[in-house]
Symmetry: C2
Subunit: 386 residues, 2 copies
């Protein structure tokens, strides 16, 4: 007697669950060291010691409150985050424009709840993080898919063509999951200029939890390039704490109706059931905001994995950030190729899950050995595919 | 450019915000000790020492994971909660039927997302917790309001009359916010028997964060009395940690399509953006599940407050649980009376906010002195109202 929507969801979700179940079964059967799980972006790198110290400090503070707080979060935490966000965005952002959230997923959901009327359209760039579709539909919006260019960059012309009178927002994700692409300042400026010409304001929601995981490149500040912009992000990836559900939203002070959007997002935080971001974790991250995971750890894994796959004849573009490889499937049918990989105890996600057939995604936020020891399996799979 | 729905919400919310702002202003002006804030159910009683110890233990455990986990929560935590829930519900509940959530608000939202088709109706009992309306509307449902009986009990006949072919669920809340009523076993059995006769399954969602805050009374187990039942609850009130957003949902194993509802709720946890209940706090509460706040602390406050108000001529029913008094307004217009109280530096919530005109709510989860020192203000207000 579940709803029709969830009935369908459960069928879709059961495909992913089947993969996880297959993985768990393989691990039980062959031992975890003989299964090469590149399926989820769950960092194996532990949180930095400053995080652990901050956690101990907050946990031992007998005077700390675990009570309700303003739905936007502790003011002092918002203020600390606003200072950091102002640097990142090269724009003065007052604490009042920052809302602490239950991760980036919470941040995107409250932004969409604040903005969308039923049937409003939200543009996403393909390949895209598969959850966007559900987040948009949670608030009765419609997802409009625009293909990225051949090198996974934003195709400004294609985006412009997809805009209708119903378009309310665009979600971008840079560094990108699954492609690892970082949109350049030039690209973002072109996007902003094109959007500025539209008759109605179209808000760019920039989902950027991988901002601090880049390889010799700085993610450009979006706020100076386009005023109707919102950052939705989390500490999940750069602090390796995705289970703690802590992130934030910031609305560009120059955005049209900025104060209204902030207020609506705060109320959305309350009425969607988040209420407020977890109290304790707000205080912990505020104490160690500058202490991110060293990107070089992931750089080493990236280079190791790219070389391993290239040597075997896989076609793989080198990611500029995040910790995913989006690899061309040696055969058109990416699902079938992932089955071939599975037969080698390798877990990968088909491109279809990101709306992009003919590719598969590998998460390399795992041990180096998992990458190294997967070589024979990747070799066997590509040979079988030929 | 926020959505029409949120635009309206912001106007409604601004009334509540105005009250809070008025309160903050009064506190700044007269000193917090001269303002009597009975507006929010934010416990002033600190968490028990076992909670603080469990928190320190988990925070110091260097091996603990802050990573992603199954969307339903850590299996071991679900199992511990299931054991406790089985006792409370006098029904064996497997760990698989328990989902860890971001508080009771998260639990209710995932249950509604799992169940509701657009336009499905959810019955709530008036006076009701004002957020229910938003939770139902988040998932495109419609709230149907049924009045409670004169003594704030369930009016089974009235509920039966309100049932239509679209009725999918009923939310009950016992001990009740705002009335403090605890529904008896007899009442719940009668509710179950009436629902059992309906052609379509109607799920009872029992919101019970105050279960362990009662005064010489045990909240009856619902599961043995009606099979299509779901518990949605949290540790916010009985552990005094509402800011930490940790709770759980349990589906009666005897419920029609129980496994489907559990699965849909787990997926809803993911797609609504909660992802999973905060990782660290799951482990903390599992370590101190039996260590609740002593209800006698609130019993003393209740008796103090009831006597104080009765002596002044207020008409107040004695709550059996939770920490609210729902007091008859000496004048019909409860909003006007709350203004009179505000003029005495007393913050109360008008009954209108719970759908019930002619009453006001006082939260007594505050210091004893706040209650004692409010006497003159309550005296002046009732005299002015005459």
């Amino acid at each position: 007697m579940v709803s029709n929507y969830m009935q369908n969801m459960m069928q879709e979700a059961s495909l992913i669950r089947k993969m996880f179940e297959a993985g768990a079964k393989l691990k039980a059967q062959y031992g975890p060291e003989n299964v090469f799980d590149f399926s989820i972006g769950n960092p194996s790198v532990p949180p930095v010691k400053e995080f652990k110290n901050a956690l101990k400090t907050v946990a031992s503070d007998s005077g700390i409150s675990h009570g309700y707080m303003p739905n936007a979060g502790e003011y002092s935490v918002r203020n600390t985050v606003a200072t950091k966000a102002s640097e990142e965005q090269k724009t003065p952002i007052p604490a009042e424009n920052v809302v602490m959230t239950c991760g980036a997923a919470g941040a995107i959901n409250i932004a969409l709840k604040a903005l969308l009327n039923p049937q409003d359209e939200v543009i996403v760039i393909c390949p895209y993080f598969m959850e966007y579709k559900f987040y948009i539909e949670n608030h009765q919006g419609k997802m409009a898919v625009v293909q990225s260019s051949a090198d996974f960059d934003l195709d400004i012309e294609a985006i412009e063509k997809a805009i209708t009178t119903k378009t309310k927002a665009i979600i971008i994700n840079s560094p990108n999951n699954p492609t690892g692409k970082v949109y350049s300042e030039q690209t973002l400026r072109a996007l902003g200029q094109m959007l500025e010409k539209q008759p109605n304001p179209i808000y760019v929601i920039s989902d950027e939890p991988y901002r601090h995981i880049t390889y010799g490149i700085v993610v450009p500040a979006l706020f100076p390039l386009y005023r109707n912009s919102i950052i939705a992000t989390s500490f999940s990836k750069d602090m390796s704490i995705p289970g703690e559900r802590i992130g934030w939203l910031a609305v560009n002070p120059q955005a049209e109706k900025a104060a209204e959007i902030v207020n609506a997002s705060i109320i959305a935080n309350r009425i969607l059931g988040f209420t407020n971001a977890p109290a304790l974790m707000q205080k912990v991250v505020a104490l160690c905001l500058d202490n991110k995971i060293d990107s070089n750890i992931y750089l080493r894994k990236r280079d190791l994995f790219v070389k391993l796959l290239s040597d075997l004849g896989y076609e793989v573009s080198v990611p500029e950030g995040a910790f995913y490889l989006f690899v061309k499937s040696p055969i058109e049918d990416d699902k079938a190729f992932c089955e071939l990989l599975l037969a080698q105890n390798i877990l990968a996600v088909p491109g279809k899950s990101f709306g992009k057939i003919g590719y598969f995604r590998l998460a390399y936020c795992c041990d180096d050995d998992t990458i190294k020891n997967s070589k024979q399996g990747f070799k066997n799979a590509i040979e079988k595919a030929k």
